[in-house]
């Protein structure tokens, strides 16, 4: 990347970073009404969304599309393997659609209702959503999905479905696992220094996935230690393979938490509910990303950190808006978005 491109990207990242909404601010939004939330978001980010967006462009899609547009601007100075890495990373958004489609079809939900769950990704979409919605049964949809760039992920999901039936959590986990493995593989094509920085940012995310799913597989689904370990994804920052293998052999959650390396042992001390652990782990992984974004070092990892933070912001806002639209109680919304009560 040329000196000019680096300077441009630095400036761009600084502007984007200044427009991210802090977690405390996001939590405050829970008490506001919908119009005020949109107005505040507009004030803080400079993006004014249309609450009365048409059916084709609801506010959920507007949030995602705006974020993707910003990501595309951000990654424009990159080329080759770096750009390919980012394009793959942004697919995370489409993965949400993939999950909604698989979940919906396997649960026998009407196409119209599934469609309402999907986010329109415009020209960035790879999934033939219209055709997928027109499928008559889950297997027809899987066959069609196996012709898309998500074939590998879908094959894993099919196997999980055939093995464990219609368990939506497991299907989601299988899809996430395959995505993380593929994403990690793409870091191998980056320059060593870049890959190292990126892995640091990704590490928190992978630790979160591995720890939470290890606990779920072992203690919610009662799977064997070996199988629980096998179903985990690429290792992250602190929880290496040896660590996870050791944890997989333990018999209860307390024992696992007590045996965790720092900082997870301290963070999760006294928490026994996996959903609560998820919230803590998520904010920890995002704090790693926030540190990386504000550290003036590697541009690639800063850009990646920004994508993670913005994605989390979009997810929070989407859940919040959905909750407000359905007129849920603020306490219920807090639970849904993972805010402290």
């Amino acid at each position: 990347m040329s000196e000019y491109s680096s300077e441009y990207l630095n400036t761009r990242l600084s502007i984007y970073a200044s427009r991210l909404i802090g977690f405390e601010q996001l939590v405050k939004f829970i008490q506001y009404d919908l119009e005020r939330i949109i107005a505040e978001v507009g004030e803080l980010t400079g993006h004014y969304y249309q609450l009365d967006g048409t059916k084709l462009n609801p506010i959920e899609s507007q949030l995602t599309n705006r974020a993707i547009d910003d990501f595309l601007i951000l990654i424009r100075p990159f080329s080759g393997s770096e750009r390919r890495f980012f394009y793959f990373a942004i697919r995370w958004f489409e993965l949400a659609n993939l999950k909604a489609l698989i979940r919906g079809k396997f649960s026998g939900i009407e196409s119209l209702k599934i469609e309402q769950e999907l986010i329109d990704l415009g020209h960035f979409a790879d999934l033939p959503v219209k055709k997928l919605l027109e499928t008559d049964d889950p297997y027809e949809m899987l066959r069609l999905l196996e012709t898309t760039p998500y074939a590998g992920i879908v094959r894993q999901a099919r196997r999980m479905y055939e093995e464990h039936g219609n368990d939506l959590f497991l299907l989601d986990a299988t899809i996430d696992r395959s995505f993380f493995i593929d994403l990690n593989q793409r870091t191998r094509f980056l320059q060593d220094e870049d890959a190292q920085y990126i892995r640091q940012v990704m590490g928190g995310l992978l630790d979160r996935f591995n720890l939470l799913w290890l606990l779920r597989y072992r203690f919610s689904y009662g799977l064997s230690a070996a199988k629980s370990f096998y179903l985990l994804t690429t290792t992250g920052n602190k929880l290496y393979s040896s660590e996870l293998m050791r944890l997989a052999k333990m018999d209860d959650i307390e024992e696992v938490v007590a045996a965790l390396p720092d900082p997870y042992r301290d963070l999760l001390a006294n928490i026994r509910v996996i959903a609560d652990m998820e919230t803590v782990m998520e904010y920890h992984s995002l704090s790693i990303a926030a540190d990386a974004l504000h550290r003036k070092s590697n541009l690639l990892s800063r850009s990646f950190a920004y994508i993670l933070l913005r994605e989390a912001e979009v997810r929070f806002l989407q859940a919040l808006i959905k909750g407000k639209q359905l007129e849920f109680d603020p306490e219920l919304i807090k639970q849904a978005v993972g805010a402290p009560s």
Binding site: E134, D137, E140, R143, E163, S224, A226, F229, A248
Partner: protein
């Protein structure tokens, strides 16, 4: 050459619900109406009466498409699609196709599984081949030992590392003995006591075990024969599935043919789902039709509709100009040029269709840049050979070829030879400055015409201020003429008086003043915008005109390339000379011909169209019966 899109009228049709489908069919048969989505609810017509019909039609169409993809023989297209299809008929047919598709989908799923099975058997066969050279009793692999459990098979290579670690938790070991195409061939062994956990993990890792039959106690080659038999059976099973599918579809051909015909007939009404508005049995339809066909439409509707209806036609108002579709006059000669114009954009309703001017100037410029009797003749002949497959290419090629021949006579050039045919005018190389001057004059003429067309388009679109004061309007035209005059005085008479200066400044002041009124923002921002746009206007006129120097440059280049070929040929013996001249000419025709074709297009798009043609029109897409 200056034709505009056909005059349009807005048609508003009020009718009773029972006649809506027939009206759609009548209009679709005539292919005269571009449907218009109703913009307001001021008529109180809030319902969409065709919506339920569309919903069933869409589902049926989608299922039919999915099934038709499996058909080997095409569906018979020759249908007189004029009847009316009821909603009940569509629904009944949809049920039949739903059932049929369920069976097709089931067979497809079985085929997929069978295919996967066969891939696994092939992988195992390949795995077994690695044992072929060993004198090993494979029955040992089947035998369940008291302490030791062994399994041989394949896993996807990406799963191997994680599997190895996971198996170590069950006290099992895994060893890779061969790797190919993303598949690892492995042997797994460990304590019999934990084999359940081991199987569980292996299943998750997509392990495919080599199954040694109970009765088997022989060498690898015997087991190989067994696997080969299995593969044959699997191929047979696959073929049976294919036959079943073919049989199933053949037995349902009448249903499919019926579905095809009904879909054709139901299409027009279904496609009006978002356009037709209604309330309490009254239906309203709006669209754009060619003005010249309004009486014909009225007559056809009177003949076909059973109940009274009201139809009115009205000319578009100025506020509608942006949404009125453009229907261009058809001309077989201009058709390929219209396609090239469409690449840039569709003429707006009130804009001049530039296809005629484009065709003429493109052909002339091509000839000027590629003037050679022989090369032109080759282009004509080569284009004629493409007539059946690419008629559009033939038309452009033949015209460009003849233009090339004409300019070949003007330059006196035949396959690069400059002294065989006496020139009607002169060879470009004899006076390059004259040729360059001609090219600049051609460019100036081209830009002047573009400017005049821009003024005409502004007036036709009801934008008189732009027509008078903008850079592309009369002020811009005056500035350009003043610039030509100033250049002439400067170069021909070595004079630039206050008069030339005044003639330049006056129109520029008008342009800047107009831009000042158009600009928004703060004072400094407006000053900057106006100054930059004024500067841009001057630069674009100068660079645009000079851009046409390439017309001369390529005519010189053509002669120079031929001279280079002859220079190389001159160094050869007689045979070598002949071969070099032939290959050199082919090279010139293919490479330079392609470059000249592209350069002409570039001049048309960037120096011509960008000055007068918005290309923001909407194509006229009539309601019609799809075939």
């Amino acid at each position: 050459m200056w034709q505009t899109p056909l005059a349009m009228e807005k048609v508003s049709l009020y009718m009773v619900d029972e006649d809506a489908q027939q009206a759609a069919m009548t209009l679709a048969r005539m292919a005269v109406m571009h449907p218009l989505e109703a913009q307001t609810n001021d008529r109180g017509l809030q319902d969409y009466p065709a919506a339920p019909y569309f919903s069933v039609y869409h589902e049926l169409n989608s299922r039919f498409g999915k099934i038709a993809a499996y058909l080997k023989a095409p569906i018979n297209q020759a249908v007189a699609a004029t009847g009316i299809v009821t909603l009940d008929e569509l629904q009944s047919l949809d049920e039949q196709l739903k059932e049929l598709w369920a069976r097709v989908s089931e067979l497809e799923e079985q085929t997929r599984r069978q295919n996967e099975k066969m891939i696994i058997t092939r992988q195992l066969s390949s795995s077994l081949q690695k044992f072929a050279s060993l004198d090993l009793d494979l029955s040992r692999l089947r035998r369940r030992g008291r302490f030791l459990r062994i399994a041989v098979g394949t896993v996807p290579a990406v799963n191997f590392d994680q599997l190895k670690r996971a198996l170590s938790l069950t006290n099992f070991m895994i060893n890779r003995f061969y790797s190919s195409e993303g598949i690892d061939h492995v042997v797994v062994f460990g304590s019999s006591q934990q084999q359940e956990d081991m199987h569980d993990v292996l299943d998750s890792a997509d392990f495919r075990g080599l199954n040694v039959p109970q009765e088997f106690s022989g060498s690898p080659s015997q087991l190989q024969a067994d696997l080969n038999r299995q593969i044959e059976q699997e191929i047979k099973a696959l073929n049976e599935l294919k036959d079943k599918l073919t049989e199933l579809l053949s037995s349902h051909m009448p249903v499919l043919q019926n579905a095809h015909d009904l879909l054709l007939q139901a299409g027009p009404y279904a496609s009006l789902a978002t356009v037709l508005r209604g309330k309490g049995g009254l239906v309203f339809l709006q669209g754009w039709v060619p003005a010249q066909r309004d009486q014909e439409i009225r007559k056809e509707l009177e003949r076909d509709l059973k109940f009274p209806f009201h139809v009115e036609f009205s000319a578009p108002e100025q506020k509608d100009f942006d949404v009125v579709p453009s229907l261009l006059k058809k001309s077989w000669l201009l058709k390929p040029f219209q396609a090239l114009v469409r690449n840039f954009g569709i003429p707006s309703y009130r804009e001049v269709d530039p296809s005629g001017l484009f065709a003429l100037s493109y052909i002339l410029m091509f000839g000027m840049m590629f003037g050679d009797i022989g090369h032109g003749a080759v282009i004509v002949l080569a284009s004629l050979l493409l007539w059946k497959r690419f008629p559009g290419v033939t038309i452009v090629g033949v015209l460009a070829g003849f233009s090339s021949i004409f300019f070949g006579f003007v330059y006196g050039s035949l396959f690069g030879y400059e002294h065989v045919v006496p020139p009607l005018w002169m060879s470009p190389m004899h006076d390059p400055i004259k040729i360059l001057l001609v090219a600049v004059l051609w460019g100036a003429g081209f830009i002047l015409i573009a400017n005049l067309l821009a003024i005409r388009n502004y007036i036709a679109s009801g934008l008189p201020e732009q027509a008078l004061f903008s850079g592309k309007g009369v002020a811009g035209l005056c500035f350009y003429l003043a610039a030509i005059n100033a250049s002439y005085q400067l170069f021909a008479n070595n004079r630039f008086s206050w008069l030339e200066g005044l003639l330049l400044l006056l129109p520029m002041a008008v342009i800047l003043q107009f831009q000042w009124r158009q600009a928004s923002g703060g004072l400094m921002e407006r000053v900057l915008v106006v100054l930059i746009e004024g500067l841009e206007h001057i630069i674009s006129n100068v660079s645009g005109t000079l851009s046409f120097l390439r017309v001369a440059a390529f005519s010189l280049n053509h002669v120079a390339l031929a001279a280079a070929v002859f220079a190389i040929a001159g160094m050869m013996d007689a045979l070598g000379h002949g071969i070099t001249v032939v290959l050199g000419n082919i090279f010139i025709i293919v490479l330079e011909g392609a470059i000249v074709a592209i350069q002409c297009l570039r001049l048309e798009y960037y120096e011509g169209f960008s000055r007068f043609f918005s290309g923001k029109g909407k194509a006229f897409e009539p309601l019609k019966i799809e075939t």
